[in-house]
Symmetry: C2
């Protein structure tokens, strides 16, 4: 089935909205934070972990799965859900972001993008049609249009041409799209140019998609303010009855700022990446578990947290695991960091329903920023 | 409490014995295979995994915990059980094996062993008293005497002197031992010399311990036959009413050969180390999951296995995880390999009670060796 968004309540003090998303795997409340499972696994977690942190939609990366193990193997397994044993909704990105960030192509044409595999240097060619074909075979619940992600430093001229090409690519992708149980989202680009964001949003909506993403803000932007502007420039032109997804953003403050502007879905590798380097979110800011002050700290990372990490293990133990390079340490911190962001989203949903989103935002960020500053 | 072994049944066709071991954390049936948690974690597993594979006793390494995080931190945490959140019996080795295998000391004196840390090259000195003091603080359920582990190539003269010194070390360790809820095991050495094994066993028993280990067979022996001989040379001189532990051995065939000779407990890093390299035990022999033939094999590693890996994941998926260097792959194979050996031990216990140990051994090994040869 196509995902179906229902707007249930808008906070009376801002654009933050509470709604539901019907999917092939049940109905979920939005806004949500979505864990990233790049290579058909949320790094270091198993599927029980993914469920226990109360994930709704999880992400997987088309580019990575195309290269390894290949979309045909995933398809023969019965699709991505069966392959990785996840009976919840999965969103696949288009590969565009990875092609531009990992593979750094030099050859972008109307037809598509030539680049080299980041694994073995093999020459590859990705087109809008190919991206959709791969995603159709992966059989995710939500597929994304193939787009160009130009750097923030791109000139107006370059960005305008890029936005126009991305629109043609979006149309081409939609034309070959061929999986009845999958939804297709369009992506708004345009950098930090107000008129290009408006143009991109309006034209993308004209093509018509099951949901809309705001893209191009996760790479080399100059400031968070730029990102917030890009959201502000895009949202007014998106339909109220479709979900809105901000791609690749996951700092707590950004989740609040995005939701305040009308975003329903966010994803980011940040929580698992931070975990692998020994960093943990807490209500009083980020901590580095390797810090000597946790050597004999036999309390959990967050006493109020309900994750498996905080219920069973202490800072001193996790510090030992991270320093001794034991993968359990990375996994426990990944579970905690993901649960931390997901529980923020849970609290955000509650606060919107009570028209108290801005109060919750202030309360959370005041405490979160206090210690770190 | 001191562990208490009760012999309940001896197979009428060989020396294999079935019994129980009372511990601080309940009573367990023997023989058992014990997973190794070197740095206070069974590599890649969490404590729920450890319980789900039906572990009884698990091992941890004194040498590693002495270096990181240090025995005082573990002690302040409330002991190793609380530190790692395991409410089951833990055995700590003495550090002797690691000092000789990892740190390769050149300076062994009557007093102890000077060597360099394998982590940072720091000069360290380990004595029998220090090993026991560390283990007392770690507060494991079973501590091991500090012993020298000479190479198999040692001359008779060297081995004789070493055995005598290890006996003096055992006595010194017992004299300072000071933890009422901990048991202390002695270790029989003597290489592959029949009279030295006899001498070592008899003299170790005279000192008097809560259990006895056969040591010195896990390093550079020339053949499996040598190892079996070393067991045969030692067992007759060990008391029937104490548990017998073969240190560092875990190939399936060796578990059978050891139990047949009267061994009750075994441990080995093999199952988790194999897993990290993509190898899995199956009833038809070991497999390398990276093999191309598993690319599209959507069946579990072992259809009859009841582990979390085999219940939920396929060979094709695990192959993908291992090749993509995702730690979930290592963890799933570790869970499976440990469960494989633990379930062999479960079947062994059942077979001994029915006087059918030799039948089960033949049935298992005939199938296990068939494909690989």
């Amino acid at each position: 089935m196509k995902v179906k968004y229902t707007l249930l309540h808008q906070d009376k003090n801002c654009k933050a909205r509470y709604g539901t998303l019907e999917t092939n795997y049940g109905t979920y409340e939005l806004p949500i934070f979505m864990p990233v499972g790049t290579q058909a696994t949320v790094k270091t977690l198993d599927i029980r972990d993914v469920k226990e942190i109360n994930s709704a939609v999880i992400l997987s990366n088309t580019y990575h799965l195309w290269l390894r193990p290949g979309e045909d193997i995933v398809n023969k397994a019965g699709g991505l859900h069966k392959f990785m044993n996840y009976d919840g909704p999965i969103l696949t990105d288009s590969g565009g972001f990875q092609v531009f960030s990992l593979a750094k192509p030099k050859d972008i044409s109307e037809e598509g993008v030539k680049f080299k595999s980041h694994i073995n240097g093999e020459k590859l060619f990705l087109t809008p049609e190919k991206s959709i074909e791969i995603q159709n075979k992966l059989d995710s619940d939500i597929a994304m249009s193939f787009d160009e992600c130009p750097p923030a430093s791109a000139t107006y001229e370059y960005m305008k041409n890029s936005v126009e090409r991305t629109l043609r690519w979006a149309k081409r992708g939609k034309d070959v799209f061929n999986n009845p149980r999958q939804s297709l989202f369009g992506i708004v680009q345009g950098g930090y140019y107000k008129d290009l964001r408006k143009f991109s949003a309006e034209e993308t909506v004209k093509i018509g998609f099951d949901g809309y993403a705001v893209g191009g803000v996760a790479n080399d932007r100059e400031s968070k303010e730029d990102m917030y502007k890009a959201i502000d420039y895009s949202i007014p032109y998106l339909p109220e009855d479709k979900p809105r997804y901000l791609m690749g953003v996951g700092e707590p403050v950004d989740i609040f700022e995005a939701v305040e502007r009308g975003i329903d879905m966010l994803d980011c590798v940040l929580p698992t990446r931070l975990a692998r380097h020994g960093h943990a979110f807490t209500k009083d800011g980020k901590i580095n578990i390797k810090n000597a002050k946790y050597k004999e700290d036999f309390t959990p990372i967050d006493k109020e947290c309900d994750c498996e990490c905080c219920k069973h293990y202490t800072k001193a133990y996790i510090r030992h695991l991270i320093i001794a390079e034991e993968t359990l340490g990375q996994r426990l911190l990944s579970i905690h960091n993901l649960r931390f962001l997901i529980s923020i989203a849970e609290n955000i949903r509650k606060s919107i329903k009570e028209d108290k989103f801005l109060d919750y935002k202030k309360e959370f960020l005041d405490r979160y920023n206090k210690v770190n500053k």
